[in-house]
Symmetry: C2
Subunit: 78 residues, 2 copies
Amino acid sequence: MDIKSKIGIRIKELREQKDMSQKDLSFFSNIDRSYIASVENGQRNISIVNIEKVSIALGISLKEFFNNDKFDNDSRSC
Amino acid sequence: MDIKSKIGIRIKELREQKDMSQKDLSFFSNIDRSYIASVENGQRNISIVNIEKVSIALGISLKEFFNNDKFDNDSRSC
DNA sequence: TTGTAGACTGGAGTCGACC
DNA sequence: GGGTCGACTCCAGTCTACA
């Protein structure tokens, strides 16, 4: 599975855990909502600066953001 | 400290641990060497696709790449 | 609430060269 | 081996709008 899709799924799962809408996340991260939608769907190649903004908006560190099976070398999650 | 600088330092420390030159890393990741130099110096906002390429070239997972104090919320490392 | 589309601007990333 | 420059292309990211 493509890294862009993994990132998108990760953002979506964290966002929903926090009961936030894309609009909420857009507001707190200061990133355009339509862009967040396309990132969540694995269509866009997000930069590290914006990944950090998203992490902060989600209330976690970058370390926690990437501390997930999806980002292991041999994930069987897909 | 800025996230771009943290990423740059992390790449440089991992690269040097593996005894690779910027040219080596450029070759294995298929990313331009001059661009890698500017990323290591915290001048560029690298995208997730290229962070993954660098991780693969360095022989580690993204999870390991970000599993570092620098990417914690309240790092005292600087 | 989310997906997507079109039009737009700035910057990511390439390439060649020089120190 | 590494830093940086200039010129280039193309996509990241914004904004508005509609289903």
